[in-house]
């Protein structure tokens, strides 16, 4: 594996990670991209199901009754900002700023992610209070099949971040950890992309057509 690392990739370019890495970084990152694309299809399929089920409220509460755009906006901003902070962390790592500043940005990202999750859960509980539970209708099943799926990904990202923080505190910034962080950053950005789809299609699309 004779990876000459690419250099054009300012955010996730592993080429500038110094020291020997057992694996060709280029290959590892590409592998993660492929995984994300598979995940993208996974999401895409659930989106498709949601679209076909927008009308299937079966007399239960629909988007008009359930959606809270204020909270939605807050969630969107939290996630978007966390995408920025994870990016800043990447840049600090790449340019070998201090480990403390790197960790700072990771922790900020983590907090923003958790904030997003809290708001989302709160939203769900509000919906449930109005009878908006997945058992109520096909539409709500589709909603709760999709949005929490994204939430689950975010929680997974948070867990990943936690593990990385622990590992960094234990052994410092090994190359292998940097490579892991680069993948985490990709993942996090990817979740933000999915979120654009969610607020456009699930919330706005549902609200307009529901």
């Amino acid at each position: 594996m004779n990876g000459t690392p690419s250099t054009s990739n300012p955010s996730v370019n592993p080429g500038q990670v110094p020291g020997a890495i057992h694996k060709d970084p280029d290959m590892v990152i590409f592998g993660f991209w492929v995984f994300m694309m598979s995940d993208l299809i996974f999401f895409g399929v659930v989106f498709a199901i949601y679209i076909t089920m927008i009308g299937a409220t079966a007399g239960g509460p629909g988007p008009r009754e359930l959606f809270d755009f204020g909270s939605l906006f807050a969630q969107t901003m939290l996630l978007l900002t966390s995408s920025l902070t994870v990016g800043i962390a990447t840049v600090t790592m790449k340019h070998q700023r201090s480990q403390a500043s790197f960790l700072f940005w990771v922790v900020v990202t983590l907090i923003l992610g958790l904030g997003f999750l809290t708001l989302e859960l709160y939203d769900f509980s509000q919906m449930a209070a109005q009878g908006g539970v997945p058992q109520r209708s096909g539409y709500l099943s589709a909603f709760f099949g999709l949005v929490p799926l994204h939430g689950l990904h975010v929680s997974f990202g948070c867990l990943w971040m936690l593990v990385l923080i622990v590992q960094i505190c234990k052994v410092g910034m090994l190359d292998i950890i940097k490579l892991r962080f680069l993948r985490l950053a990709l993942f996090w950005h990817f979740l933000d992309l999915i979120w654009i789809g969610i607020f456009s299609v699930v919330y706005f699309g549902g609200w307009v057509y529901g």
């Binding site: 300012p10 955010s11 590409f30 991209w33 989106f47 498709a48 679209i51 700023r97 933000d192 706005f204």
Partner: protein, 106 residues
């Protein structure tokens, strides 16, 4: 993004992406709330804004570019998008048609 390798330049890329995304998001929210749901064509606008934001984030956050080194990724993303479109559009078409043809007596 003149100096591609500098710390500040990298940061600037992210900040640009962030600001653009925020603007596009606010625009989408504003469009929906201002126009309301009676005018369904607002969704076209929302869709366009969404696609724009996807492009911005892909470029500034995920650095998918047409440059030589990023081609593998770009090709991958384009191919995935093609499959995604086939799946989503196909499903919507089939299911939409079936929904109409299955409820003609109701």
């Amino acid at each position: 993004m003149a100096n591609k390798s500098g710390y500040a330049a990298h940061l600037r890329t992210y900040l640009t992406g962030y600001v653009l995304s925020v603007v596009l998001t606010i625009a989408a929210f504003w469009a929906v709330l201002a126009v309301g749901r009676e005018n369904k064509s607002v969704l076209i606008l929302v869709g366009l804004l969404g696609v724009a934001q996807l492009a911005v984030q892909l470029k500034c956050f995920l650095n998918v570019t047409t440059q030589k080194e990023g081609r593998d990724n770009l090709a991958l993303v384009l191919f995935s998008t093609l499959i995604l479109l086939i799946i989503v559009v196909g499903t919507a078409w089939i299911m939409g048609n079936l929904a109409v043809r299955m409820h003609t007596t109701m």
